[in-house]
Amino acid sequence: MTDKDTILEQLKSEITGITAGPKLEHVGTVTRVSDGVAEIRGLSQVMYSELIEFETEKGAVLGQALNLEEHSVKAVILGDREAVREGQTAKGTGNILSVAVSDALIGRVIDALGNPVDGGPSFKAETMKRYPLEKIAPGVITRQSVNVPLQTGIKAIDAMIPIGRGQRELIIGDRQTGKTAIAIDTIINQGKDVRGGKPVICIYVAIGQKESKVAQIVEQLKKTKAMEYTIVVTAPASAPAPLQFLAPYTGVAIGEYFMDQGRDALIVYDDLSKHAVSYREVSLLLRRPPGREAYPGDIFYLHSRLLERAARLSPEHGGGSLTALPIIETQLSDVSAYIPTNVISITDGQIYLEPELFYQGTKPALNVGLSVSRVGSSAQTKAMKKVAGTMRLELAQYRELAAFAQFGQELDASTKQKLDRGRRLSELLKQNQYHNMPFEEEVASIFSAVRGVLDTVEVSDVQRFEKELIAFLRGRHDALMKKLREGAELTKEVDEALKAACDDFAKNYFKKS
């Protein structure tokens, strides 16, 4: 058989597989288009959230039916909005909006509809599964309690506001206070803190962010090899509001795919304030009645149904988990505004970043008093629980006493000691971006502070002392560090050995200096 014959045979077999009969389609006519919203007459049996195809001169443009009214349907245009004109036909597809998911997404940057935007090859749809963007969150029966830690590699968080796999921990603060930095550090740490052979799959959802910022983040993730287990979903500031509104749902659908496979996933929503704004825009364009701050009535449900999808499944359901780190940007530190209070009440705790602390040079700028993790403590390892148990209280006491000490009053010895310990602890908890610490180093570092090893070190010298102590422990007591990591417990034996090692180091450190 010649090449020509082979090609002809192939074509014939392809063509015979095509159903050539008439096609029944559910249609409507576009009667009005404005600001990315099309009003369609017809489509009387369209479903809520159904994907619609507009037949335009430039080809099919997708839309999503969001308002089902008596004689018309209002749909948001998800593609080239300029191409949709009055009089064009809109076809119902019978499909609810979904995204193609598979392991091929790992390492890629995609848009809110799942199309690659990183210049890489397109995905092979036939080898991928489709996951709906809107889905009811896992029920009570399918879940198990959060009891496995998700290490961020940030001492202050892992010690005082621990995050568990399947938890929803809000990162909240004003602009430029290091919210994204915490999220990115957590993603990077998943590659360093690998347990069970595979790193936690990370999904970073950028909503309404500057393209340059997203590019910078992707670059950093590539540099730290974090892109090997990360997917970036982006709906930048230049994307239309409907796409910004859909992006977190695309991200969570991808996260659910990995969770259903029994894997652990982490999703960062950066940020939900912009998400709420984009939904407000869509709702106002759809002429839904505005409520408080012009947000629609279902703004709480918008976020609660999204964040409820984070879960830790029971072993019978695969045992996978999806941890959510939503980010909220506050205005002038007002955590009692509408959207922040909504999201605070939905999540299992919040990491509150304070601008004053940030400008004083405390990074991460955690406000220990207002930050809380409601379920994470049960996920904290025994070793960390033991060393960090009193730290939160000590720091809170220090902050209170420090305010009084400013007046220059005479202080008793115990107060003075508390102030000194607090100063050293605060200094110890400072940690620069991209300097994640392995779990055992975090424990050793905090151990040195709460066991008084740091008490004789000058505050300005704390960072250096810690660095050298860790190097010493790694060099001379690596077996002890390994034991600490593997056992994740501060047994009497480990405790004594660690104290002896720290004292040994301190003795030589002071001799040297």
Partner: protein
């Protein structure tokens, strides 16, 4: 109370059906009322709604047929298919190449060559 396009269309239909003459005057008054109520912007929706109600009242189903040539379908065949009297709107579009595309209400039966070619193109390019 805010009147919807359906309210206006139903009222107009009732009025037109109740009077055998003077329809032009009635329509002019109706237009003046719309302007007075500041609802002139709803005119297009009202006309669409009126058309729907009119066909419903007359028990006629509007059917649009798009084909490459004239008289591609016989109205009687479509009447049989639809089960009611029809108002046939025929459109000639050479781009369909062959076959017909029939639209009845919200449903469309596409049996054109252009659709088959485009389906084929989609399948082969996959």
């Amino acid at each position: 109370m805010t009147y919807s396009p359906t309210h206006y269309a139903a009222a107009l239909l009732d009025l037109l059906l109740s009077k055998k003459e003077g329809h032009e005057k009635l329509i002019a008054k109706f237009a003046a009322l719309l302007v007075k109520n500041r609802h002139a912007g709803k005119l297009r929706d009202i006309m669409n709604e009126f058309e729907r109600l009119w066909y419903k009242h007359q028990e006629i189903t509007p059917v649009t047929v798009v084909s490459a040539t004239k008289n591609a379908v016989h109205p009687k065949d479509i009447e049989k298919l639809v089960g009611t009297k029809i108002a046939l709107i025929e459109k000639i579009d050479e781009n369909v190449k062959g076959g017909v595309r029939i639209s009845v209400g919200d449903w469309r039966i596409d049996n054109t060559l252009s659709r088959r070619f485009s389906d084929m193109k989609g399948t082969i390019s996959k």
